[in-house]
């Protein structure tokens, strides 16, 4: 596993709080603005960054991230330019882990070995590939193991007890629990169901558990932060970019994302304290 990621979760454990994971799309709305967004995230309270790289056919994403991918492609974004962003981000930040998230085909075209070594050299810490289930990720797994990138697997409401070991075998970094059966950013996660799913996964692995896909509000983030080791928010952040672009104020996107991350990360940080105070 990447040391940055290991240290991040160790620190979170020490301070007895969940981490906040911010998902944004590389090159959305354009390369330079997305670099500004990335640079603003750690200061606003993001403990980990998930950086999406664009694909024309994002079949597991809802409308928000679909639009983000289209904007990114239109501005010339690609897997290569996403790696370039990581490299530039690392010029000023050595601590915040970055996880690359996207679909298999851009990696297939770059080659799994080339991808893993470029990603590692650029300063990425892990990778989540939505359409590479355990049955299909052998090539990626070989290369991530060789380079020390974490291979983060997804568990979902349809991953039953019989299948869970298959998902966990070979996983590293953390487990990403997809809290709803659906695409990103559409259905809302039910905290009760999430709690029992997190407990079930915890019984089967030592890895930290991050929860995402249906989390948009500070209330939802806070509820999940009581159960999970990290909370992921993506579509809500990406929507800030969408609105800024629609109002012809793309330059405001970094500030808008920053403010929302402040609110959400504060809710995550305060979640267990509040619970302690109530009790």
């Amino acid at each position: 596993m990447s040391e940055r990621l290991a240290k991040c979760f160790a620190d979170l454990k020490t301070s007895n709080r969940a981490g906040f994971v911010a998902y944004v799309m590389a090159s959305d709305p354009d390369h330079e603005t997305s670099l500004d967004i990335l640079r603003a995230l750690p200061g606003a309270g993001a403990d980990i960054i998930e950086l999406g790289f664009p694909f024309t056919d994002p079949m597991a994403d809802g409308p928000s991230i679909q639009l983000a991918a289209q904007r990114a492609l239109k501005s010339g974004g690609s897997l290569r330019s996403a790696l370039k962003l990581v490299e530039r981000f690392r010029e000023t930040n050595q601590n915040t882990p970055i996880i690359l998230m996207g679909y298999a085909n851009p990696i297939e075209q770059m080659g799994y070995d080339g991808f893993a070594s470029h990603a590692r050299e650029a300063g990425a810490d892990g990778v989540i590939i939505v359409d590479l289930p355990p049955e299909e990720d052998a090539e990626l797994r070989t290369q991530t193991a060789k380079t020390g990138l974490s291979l983060i697997r997804l568990a979902t409401p349809t991953t039953d007890a019989a299948r869970l070991p298959k998902v966990l075998e070979g996983a590293s970094g953390f487990v990403y629990y997809v809290s709803v059966a659906g695409v990103t950013g559409v259905k809302a996660a039910q905290s009760g169901a999430v709690a029992s799913a997190v407990a079930r996964i915890r019984g089967a692995t030592q890895l930290p558990i991050a929860v995402g896909f249906g989390v948009r509000t500070p209330e939802a983030a806070s509820a999940i932060a009581r159960e999970a080791d990290a909370v992921v928010v993506g579509s809500a952040l990406v929507d800030c970019v969408t609105r800024a672009v629609e109002e012809n104020k793309a330059q405001d996107a970094p500030g808008r994302v920053e403010r929302l991350v402040q609110t959400l990360s504060a809710a995550v940080r305060g979640a267990r304290k509040k619970e302690g105070a109530d009790a």
């Binding site: 056919d57 679909y103 299909e136 039953d160 299948r163 998902v167 059966a181 695409v183």
Partner: protein, 404 residues
């Protein structure tokens, strides 16, 4: 070529045809496609399921479709005898219903209560809406908004049959986006929904089960030609978009090594780096899309390109993984025909045989003369006439006017 191999044994248990195929789907869908795989194995072994298929194929679809000797076309080219497998005479006017029937019977066995499908030109959408009406299941068809606008008669047919047509505006709003949207719906409605995929692509087991359901075409053709001519044909020929009609014709002949398997892709405005074609094998590279690894139209960064064909049914940036494999091992070969060549063949077939073909098989027709001459007099060729051209008459009239 590996002469000892039994090609009919593919795919393997992981859904692989050599390097192609597989199950490249989100984890949420994995348990569902594993479940579908188990259900399909059980159905395949069930006599009752087979009897049900046979009944509906005969009395509802109108199978077996005839094998017709295209005598005037044969005389015109002066080469091998040309036979048409007449799947355009099926209920709904194309081969698509063979597969829809199989999948909806499977859905019923699995206790699924809601059907979704994607469609480009609307032929698969109409066939799906048809079987949903027959079995009383609600049906949602995803169709690119661009296609909804240019295929309005089929949109109306689907609505008449009780289906809901949902226009898809994401991406370029065509077939591949409709397929993305259907996958998104499936991932959201995992418990009650069955996704009827229309072509021999998608995650395993779809390429296999679509092939098996469409293999009725080749099985019948093989029996019919043996009865008529007392021997196997020298070549079987079909158009290839995703490739479901072609794999259905090829599969029962795949171990007959004397029989050439020939696919014809859509070359659109020509196969070059403008990518104004839909010839994934002739003009694409291997990659991963819609759950399988196969040949795709894509740029250097792995972004999928739209492509083009005058035939909406061939206008897809990928091809079924079994075709990718048959191409690489040299068991099948894949030619192509441009929009203009297909238009010429469309007219020739109408005038010489009194059959108005769909634009899809018009691509196969465009190469049939050369193939018949190459094989020569005394030879036998079967071409799958997989759809009728009623749906295309306006497109053709417009294109001919433009061409002048």
């Amino acid at each position: 070529m590996d002469a000892r191999r039994n090609w009919q044994d593919l795919p393997d248990e992981n859904g692989r045809f050599g390097a192609y195929g597989g199950r490249y789907v989100a984890e949420t869908l994995m348990p569902l496609i594993l479940d579908l795989d188990r259900a399909y194995r059980a159905a395949k072994a069930s006599n009752e399921f087979q009897a049900e298929m046979d009944y509906f194929w005969r009395d509802y679809v109108g199978r077996p479709s005839p094998l017709y000797f295209a005598e005037r076309l044969t005389d015109h080219f002066g080469g091998a005898k040309i036979y048409f497998k007449r799947d355009e005479l099926n209920h709904t006017g194309a081969h698509k219903i063979n597969n829809c029937l199989g999948q909806i019977l499977l859905a019923r066995r699995m206790g699924k209560t809601r059907i979704i499908a994607e469609t480009g030109a609307g032929q698969h959408g109409v066939a799906t809406a048809t079987v949903c009406a027959r079995f009383g299941l609600p049906c949602v068809v995803f169709m690119g908004a661009t296609d909804v606008a240019r295929q309005s008669p089929n949109v109306f047919r689907m609505k008449l049959l009780g289906a809901e047509v949902r226009p898809v505006t994401s991406g370029a709003a065509t077939l591949k986006d409709a397929m993305n949207e259907a996958l998104r719906d499936w991932v959201t409605n995992v418990h009650d929904t069955f996704y009827i995929i229309g072509t021999a692509a998608g995650p395993h087991p779809y390429p296999e089960l679509v092939r098996d359901f469409q293999s009725i075409i080749g099985k019948e053709a093989r029996e019919q030609i043996l009865e008529r001519e007392g021997r196997l044909p020298d070549a079987v020929v079909a158009c290839v978009g995703g490739g479901s009609n072609a794999i259905g014709l090829f599969h029962p002949f795949v171990n007959d090594e004397s029989v050439q398997l020939i696919g014809v892709e859509a070359a659109g405005h020509g196969i070059d780096d403008r990518f104004e074609h839909s010839a994934a094998i002739n003009g694409g590279r291997p990659g991963v899309l819609h759950g399988n690894r196969t040949y795709l139209l894509q740029n250097a960064d792995g972004q999928i390109l739209e492509g083009h064909s005058i035939s909406a049914g061939l206008d897809y940036p990928g091809v079924g993984p079994e075709h990718a494999y048959l191409n690489d091992i040299g068991r099948a070969r894949y030619l192509s025909a441009t929009d203009n060549e297909a238009l010429d063949a469309f007219q020739l077939c109408a005038r010489l045989e009194g059959i108005i073909p769909a634009l899809e098989p018009s691509h196969a027709l465009a190469r049939i003369g050369e193939i018949a001459k190459e094989i020569g007099k005394g030879g036998l060729v079967i071409m799958n006439l997989c759809g009728r051209g009623d749906k295309d008459v306006f497109t053709v009239s417009e294109a001919l006017e433009k061409r002048g």
